[in-house]
């Protein structure tokens, strides 16, 4: 149960939410997305409650949870296509470009179920990129990534925040980033 | 603006008020049922068509009405809990469900017993009894859904939503069963019609209904107190309330 938590993230800022297992990091993130309605308190997006500007807020965010949210029977490209096009028009070339950026261009036409856990995470990264969202809400984004993958994820975060974006990242380890980082430690 | 309402709906207040109401309800029930039973079972004249068999109406009809009333109460209480997020709404809904289901069962059993002298069999798919049976299934659904969730709050909300969906369906079900029955009118099944009611028959019936309602109120208050204790068991006011 989360009690008495308050935080703020602005443009060009990254908030790192840390804490032991069961401290409520995922819960906090889900409250930020609006999926979880807090019993008390509220979430505001540029001064307005997210329940009032819900569709605008949802268009501006990209969320990656513990689950990959990828359909095993669809190819990586198809997954991206269906998910990204719900939020904005995107050409297939663009989507392939994102997959290339995250190093899984070769997996674009393979069904996701044959990909390894690390490759799936990279597809998730491509999806986040392709969403062109201002706010990134990421839950343990470095899971299943090897050293190269972790470096890539860090680079993407740097680029996003440096370019004016915001990010709320839940990670139980330290983030070695140069971007403006604020840290919130949740106690279990 | 609604602060007085929220105060009214606070668990300690509900617990106290329910305790206060129980003796009143029980007294009312005793008097009304006492009068109704004696006047109806002993003093009312036998029906010219059904003889003494009709007397079971004094238990059957009130049970049927209360089973419907209880379902509506459950739906309204659940809606209050769901829409205004008042936890006591869910407590009332949870408390009412088994009571309503029991009255439904009572209506079915008494209806079946009534049917025996009329139809020659214990069950002949009479439209009103069939509607009661489907109502029992609706109760079963709500009562099975609530405990299926690990998170009690989620279970409450899901059960409330189902109760609301059910209450909307009750008139539809009732009407469709009536239509279905008219379709198969070929069967010579006498319906469980109420005999035409002179005051000597009607007044005891109304008294029984009033008595049943009071009894329902009393049992609801008792169960509600139990629900409140269970739901608020972590709260500090509980310890003082139990001591007193």
């Amino acid at each position: 149960m989360l009690k008495g938590v308050s935080l703020e993230v602005g443009p060009r800022e990254l908030m790192h939410v840390a804490g032991p297992n069961g401290a409520g990091k995922t819960t906090l993130l889900r409250v930020a997305t609006g999926l979880l309605r807090p019993e008390q308190g509220s979430v505001a997006w540029f001064g307005q409650s997210i329940t009032q500007v819900q569709s605008e807020y949802q268009s501006a965010l990209a969320y990656a949870s513990h689950e990959t949210a990828l359909k095993g029977d669809l190819t990586a490209l198809e997954n991206l296509r269906y998910m990204v096009r719900m939020k904005r028009r995107a050409t297939l070339t663009e989507l392939r470009g994102c997959l290339d950026r995250t190093g899984v261009a070769g997996c674009a036409d393979l069904p996701v179920r044959v990909l390894s856990a690390g490759q799936r995470r990279r597809v998730v990264m491509a999806r986040i990129l392709a969403a062109s969202a201002v706010l990134w809400l990421l839950d343990e984004p470095f899971t299943n990534l090897d050293a190269a993958g972790s470096a890539l994820m860090s680079a993407l975060l740097e680029e996003h925040v440096g370019g004016g974006g915001m990010a709320l990242v839940v990670a139980h380890h330290d983030l070695k980033l140069q971007a403006t980082q604020r840290r919130m430690e949740l106690k279990g | 603006m609604w602060t007085w309402f929220y105060r009214l709906a606070s668990p300690p207040h509900v617990y106290r008020v329910a305790a206060m109401l129980i003796p009143w309800f029980l007294t009312g029930a005793a008097i009304a049922i006492g009068y109704g039973a004696i006047a109806g079972l002993v003093f009312a004249p036998p029906d010219y068509q059904q003889g003494d068999a009709f007397r079971i109406i004094y238990v059957h009809a009130p049970s049927g009405w209360i089973s419907m009333f209880a379902y509506s109460t459950m739906a309204v209480a659940g809606a209050i809990g769901l829409i205004w997020r008042i936890k006591m709404g869910h407590a009332v809904a949870a408390a009412v469900a088994p009571i309503g289901a029991s009255f439904t069962l009572l209506a079915l059993v008494t209806g079946s017993l009534w049917g025996r002298p009329m139809w020659g069999t214990y069950w002949a798919w009479d439209p009103r009894l069939t509607s009661e049976l489907i109502l029992l299934f609706l109760y079963a659904g709500v009562m099975s859904l609530r405990p299926a969730f690990e998170d009690a709050s989620r279970g409450d909300r899901a059960a409330a939503l189902l109760a609301i969906v059910g209450v909307v369906n009750v008139p539809i079900i009732h009407y469709s069963v009536l239509w279905w029955n008219s379709l198969h009118q070929g069967a010579t099944v006498a319906k469980l019609g109420k005999p035409s009611m002179p005051p000597s028959m009607l007044v005891p019936l109304l008294s029984m209904l009033l008595g049943f309602m009071c009894f329902f109120g009393a049992v609801l208050c008792m169960r509600l107190r139990g629900e409140v204790l269970n739901r608020e068991r972590q709260a500090s006011w509980i310890r003082e309330a139990i001591r007193s």
């Binding site: 605008e56 689950e67 | 079963a140 989620r154």
Partner: protein, 226 residues
């Protein structure tokens, strides 16, 4: 909103149909179940044509109800399990829009398939061809209504472990009116009477459910996602 509701719905329907066609067994199994259940009745009761014809509407409709229930469990479950449902809920579209799209896609591969197979079953149950039009129309309206009711039930039970039994327990009482009107309509058509009244009731049930069920199912999903 950058993407209109209609376009989003088409995307979801397209995706779900795509997924269904890649797992055709999930579409075929309930249909086979439908055929098997309707076979059980002649085996268990009688092959006398007149008797079969009398039972036929009821048997057909009960079998359709039960096989629809089998496939309803998966309406939201797959998406809920892999996190896709959350993503849909965050896509900027209302949950009701998502429910409508998913339910329509689901009906296309379950209810509609059932309606297409029903003439085969009808022949086996000695339903005269003259009653086919009523039967097909009735089944179309009925399976659609059932899909909506099933969406509510599926939304309520999506997170539960043994949800499918509870789903049936919840949906079947709500589906009794449509069974009554649907079987009633087919029955009247078989005996030559006018089934128009029953079909009108069925149609109004369908319209009523279509208008309200998406919101109820969306509310149920909101509870589940919480």
């Amino acid at each position: 909103m950058n993407v209109g509701a209609w376009r989003a719905m088409m995307l979801i329907v397209h995706r779900d149909l795509c997924l269904s066609f890649r797992r055709p067994e999930q579409v075929l199994q309930p249909l086979v179940f439908f055929l098997i259940v309707t076979t059980l009745f002649p085996l268990g009761l009688s092959v006398q044509l007149s008797l079969l014809r009398d039972m036929a509407p009821g048997v057909l409709w009960v079998a359709a109800l039960l096989s629809s229930l089998l496939s309803l469990d998966s309406l939201f479950k797959n998406d809920a399990d892999d996190g896709t449902l959350e993503q849909l809920a965050l896509s900027g579209q209302s949950l009701a829009t998502i429910v409508i799209a998913k339910t329509v896609a689901h009906w296309l591969v379950s209810g509609a398939a059932l309606v297409l197979v029903s003439p085969v079953v009808a022949i086996g149950l000695a339903i005269p061809v003259s009653a086919f039009a009523t039967m097909l129309l009735g089944l179309t309206l009925g399976t659609l209504t059932l899909s909506w009711l099933g969406a509510i039930g599926a939304g309520l039970t999506v997170g539960l472990r043994r949800g499918n039994v509870l789903l049936s327990l919840i949906v079947l009482p709500l589906a009794m009116p449509l069974l009554i009107f649907g079987a009633g309509a087919t029955d009247r058509a078989i005996s030559g009477a006018s089934a128009v009244g029953a079909l009108y009731f069925l149609a109004s049930l369908c319209v009523f459910t279509t208008t309200l069920a998406p919101f109820a199912a969306a509310a149920a999903l909101r509870i589940a996602l919480d």
